[in-house]
């Protein structure tokens, strides 16, 4: 049995973190998880400590990519075969963890994206438009079709964990996926369903969304060509 680590970056997720972790602990105890508290200013850390959750407590706020990288370092240190990026707000469903890992193993994939749009509806919204745009850019630059590159549920194998753990510019975002595809990583998608956020506020407001899009577009279209393949 391969070992899977569920990495849960959490920034101000006090309202959600207990629900998310309890579900993992009670129903999917075969998987290990690690909460990376990214210097939250609410009592996320206290909740984790009180309940004895497995947590890494970052003393300062590093942002999602820094928090996620911490999880990758931990996964590498503890010698996990797969690590998955898992939202702390309950948007992701743990029932897909095992099938995703199976899918990765069966097809010898380096990265498996939990994709919302493989089957089912593609609703039109500002967010969807952004997603389609990034998918199109990835198609153009790498020739690979990815249906849901902005999905936050991505599983990485050991080879990828090593890269993500120690190198700069490997944030858990679509541009990294595009870059890794260009470096020869095998990427697959597995259909998943996600939940709407129950509590707390989404990070992706309109202005943040625009900033995010700008960052992704420039990174995939321009900066990527200046990066060393490796």
């Amino acid at each position: 049995m391969k070992k899977l680590l569920v990495v849960i970056p959490a920034y101000n997720e006090a309202e959600n973190i207990a629900r998310v972790v309890e579900q993992l602990q009670n129903e999917y105890a075969q998987f290990d998880y690690i909460v990376v508290n990214d210097g939250s200013i609410d009592n996320t850390a206290e909740i984790c400590k009180k309940n004895g959750y497995n947590m890494i407590d970052l003393p300062v706020n590093l942002g999602l990519s820094g928090a996620f990288q911490t999880g990758m370092r931990y996964a590498l240190k503890k010698d996990y075969d797969y690590a998955i990026q898992y939202d702390g707000d309950g948007q992701h469903n743990p029932e897909f963890l095992d099938p995703m890992m199976q899918y990765a193993e069966d097809n010898k994939l380096d990265i498996v994206i939990g994709s919302r749009f493989l089957e089912g509806d593609k609703r039109m919204s500002f967010r969807m438009f952004g997603n389609s745009l990034i998918d199109a850019l990835i198609k153009i630059t790498t020739g690979k079709t990815v249906k849901d590159s902005t999905s936050g549920m991505r599983m990485y194998d050991k080879k990828m964990i090593k890269k993500l753990a120690y190198q700069m510019n490997y944030g858990p975002e679509p541009d990294t996926i595009a870059y890794l595809i260009r470096c020869g990583a095998k990427v697959g998608e597995y259909p998943v369903k996600m939940n709407e956020r129950i509590a707390g506020e989404s990070y992706l407001s309109f202005t943040n969304g625009v900033k995010y899009m700008f960052h992704m577009i420039t990174s995939i279209l321009v900066v990527q060509w200046f990066r060393k393949k490796g």
């Binding site: 890494i56 407590d57 970052l58 003393p59 590093l62 820094g66 911490t70 370092r73 931990y74």
Partner: protein, 105 residues
């Protein structure tokens, strides 16, 4: 000329208080010294500019300074990037170790 001397004095004082690493300081010492020399002997700039074919010596000086500063800023960006990375790696390492430590107790 006066401003060049003032700049030199400013840098000199800051260096004395040692708020700068030596190898970094070297750049600024040379830079401000050259400005002071050019302030005292503008003929240098005038002849150099004429040799290269730039009519106005002040344009020549601006060109050189801007070029130098662009390089400096770029090198600084690299440095800041690498510092940010190091800080973030330190934070990660501290947090992971702290967790291991707490586990052992």
């Amino acid at each position: 000329m006066i401003s060049a001397i003032l700049l030199f004095m400013f840098i000199y004082r800051k260096l004395k208080k040692s708020q700068l690493q030596v190898n970094e300081a070297f750049f600024w010492i040379v830079f401000s010294s050259v400005l002071v020399i050019l302030g005292f002997f503008p003929e240098i700039a005038i002849t150099l500019a004429r040799k290269i074919g730039i009519i106005s010596p002040s344009n020549f000086i601006f060109l050189c300074i801007i070029f130098l500063l662009i390089i400096k800023v770029f090198l600084l960006t690299i440095k800041v990037s690498s510092l940010e990375q190091k800080v973030s790696n330190l934070v990660q390492e501290i947090a992971i170790r702290e967790r291991d430590y707490a586990e052992k107790e």
